[in-house]
Amino acid sequence: MLGHVTGRIAQALVVMLVMSMLVFVGVHAIGNPIDVLIGPDVSQDIRLETIARYGLDRPLYEQYFTFLGRILHGDFGRSFVFGMPVLDLILSRLPATLELTLSAVCGAALIGIPAGIYAGYRPDGFAAKIIMTVSILGFSVPTFWIGLVLIMTFAVELQWLPAGGRGDTVAVFGVEWSFLTLNGLSHLLLPALNLAFFKLALMTRLARAGTREAMLSDTVKFARAAGLSEWTVLRRHVLRLIAIPLVTVFGLEFASTLAFAVVTETIFSWPGIGKLIIDSITSLDRPVMVAYLMLVAFVFITINFLVDLAYVGLDPRLRKAGSR
């Protein structure tokens, strides 16, 4: 087990290093930030001086190694636009995205998995057909459109919920959270719902497919032959049998939503990192882009690792190799 963990960490470091190179080169290929940072009418002297100040006059590999050296000291550089350390900038936006993503993905799992199991358990029932129809909608209707419909319905027409922003926040351990206040929750609900819709459909279909297969397995037949109630069969046997793919998708969706909740955050003016990255791309704010993409790589690697650990927790057959 320990060998496995160290192996994974070494792997992760290599991936991060390669990622940093790709990102660095890629971002440089997009365009020159100087053109965005300073107006076209400034003198050549000031232009050169600005370039030198940001270190943009030096060769690319030199810039890269300076960048790497700074990272080792925990310094991701300063934003060209905001003029503050990139790390602080990202960390100030991260909690907003984190709570949005977590509530969306967890909500999708908590509703989608039971709905999917039910639809798989009674595949010919009326309720199952409704569940599956809704899930097809979740797959096929674009997120931005659902977001607009949600705003139109609940914010504009009914005026039950606010249309955007984070609302009131409470600081816990120095971090601002919305979900702890009633007002914050009301702001969170619509964007979380919007973000959850696709994942809900995915979880439902996955759980349904797994359940349909598991219900035909000898394990379930044997459990029924022993007189177990249907509820016990579903809860104790089926749920465990279908857990692995669900955990996989949960992890992947969580990571990708955390990184790319851009559309929803834009529609609901949610001040998360999705908006930050869009803004930094339009203003060619290189340090923010680089740091953000590195963070995304890190999040994916971490979540994949946690998913692997969850596999081991769920499936005793995977424990064998480690414990021997």
Partner: protein, 567 residues
Amino acid sequence: MSPSPLLEVTNLVTHFHSRTGIVKAVDGVSFALRRGEVMGLVGESGSGKSITGFSIIGLIDPPGRVEGGSIKLDGRELVGLPSSELRGIRGKSISMVFQDPMMTLNPMLTIGTQIRLALEAHEDVSAAEGRKRAIAALRQVRIPEPETKVDFYPHQFSGGMRQRVAIAIALLHRPKLIIADEPTTALDVSIQAEILVEMKELVAELGTSMIWISHDLATIASIADHVCVMRSGKIVEAGPVLDVLTRPKHPYTQSLLDALPSRAKPGALLARGAGTDAAPPPRLARLAESGRRKAEIPYFVIDAVGKRFQQKAGVLRLLAQKMGIARPAPSVQAVDSVSLTLTRGEALGLVGESGSGKSTLGRMAAGIYAPDAGHVLLDGEPVMSSGDRPHKITTRIQTIFQDPFASLNQRMRIGDSISEGPIAHGLVSRAEAGHYVRQWLAAVGLDPAFASRYPHQFSGGQRQRVAIARALAMQPDVVVCDEPVASLDVSIQAQIINLLIRLRSELDLTLIFISHDLSVVRHLCDRVAIMHRGRIVESGTASEVYDHPQDPYTQRLLAAVPVLPVA
């Protein structure tokens, strides 16, 4: 004993509704079972024997439905009971044991948890009490050290142990009736013998009645008092086991018995020569040339071959091993220095239980696996090239695998599957291939027009014929058969065995026949080698080994085979 039977099944009808029509899986079955009696229900696949069992325990899932008839347990009618009441009976009054213990237990839960769930289905028990009862249940089915085993997961048990756990769960509430659906079919013969004895003792001890469903007449003979023979959803013959098996009245029972190799003279055609009405196999000119025998060299030599399976260690793991942090990955010595010599035209049976290394040895002989040690020579020439990445360099050895579902490409017409190899090796030209394939299909007893069909359009037995045609179309001299009849019904098995006997003599083939079934091997093979844990423990002519086994393992193996009563 009271005259009223424990279970009375009258005119039971179970249908499966599908788009293409109604399948009458069980079509008017009637029988009665006394208290403490063991009844055998025998039939081939699709005869409805398992569906009868599921109908009794009330587990017919849609689109299936019990359409009519009556099932009375202790006088209580079970047909038409609401599902909640049926659930109360399942596991408590009637319980069931399934075929494959690898599939029945939930791999994610400990044995103890699964036993406790079954307990809680009918009783309120505390956690401590549940654990105590689980341990007692494991002890009853003779699982050693039940106190620690109760916390094991299914994968930590062997197949036999898992089946014991399933039996323990079935016996938990002292049911009046146990339905055992092929409970020993997936097990090795020695484990099967143990389970048979234990089941027999347990039902006698507890006074439980049992319905033993099986395709195997011999196991039924060794456990049941009565037997019902099923075919196409109907019981065609019923009576005391001895009567039915020694003086069968129905022609179908007779044909089942005739299909058994254990009842026939070794080497004779089975079931009155069924399935041999086929054309002679096509020969190519090359065959005559390769038939020239180099007299001084032994024909086919397997010389001290060994194979060890080990996980490839990555760079980090190797480093960690060097530093003493990690141990090397576990390895299995599948075959350990085995030597065999075959003369031309000989049939060698390779017998062993699962994990004995017989398939690995067969694959090395066929040039599929490269041996780690030793070599395989045909006519003095190596079967595989030497070097870092050895590959097979002869077409003179071919393999027929157990599972024709898996060994044929589902997306290829079978004609293309058969001609693929001969064309690639230049045995026939593309233009001749169609004719060549049709000749081979005729030779294995199939309609030559089937060449354009896909594998899913064939039954298991037909598919195995295709696999045989595909192997033989390469015009091999040696054929390695890896359990080619293991997944087939007895009557189909008899036809395939007949086909192999015929083709072997017509083509002068040398056979390596791998099987766990001692009777099939005896029937087909001149010589037998018994494998155990990667080694050959005994070999000799078939009659020598079977009639006077020397090695204690061979003796145990032969003693474990259930035998049919003879009149």
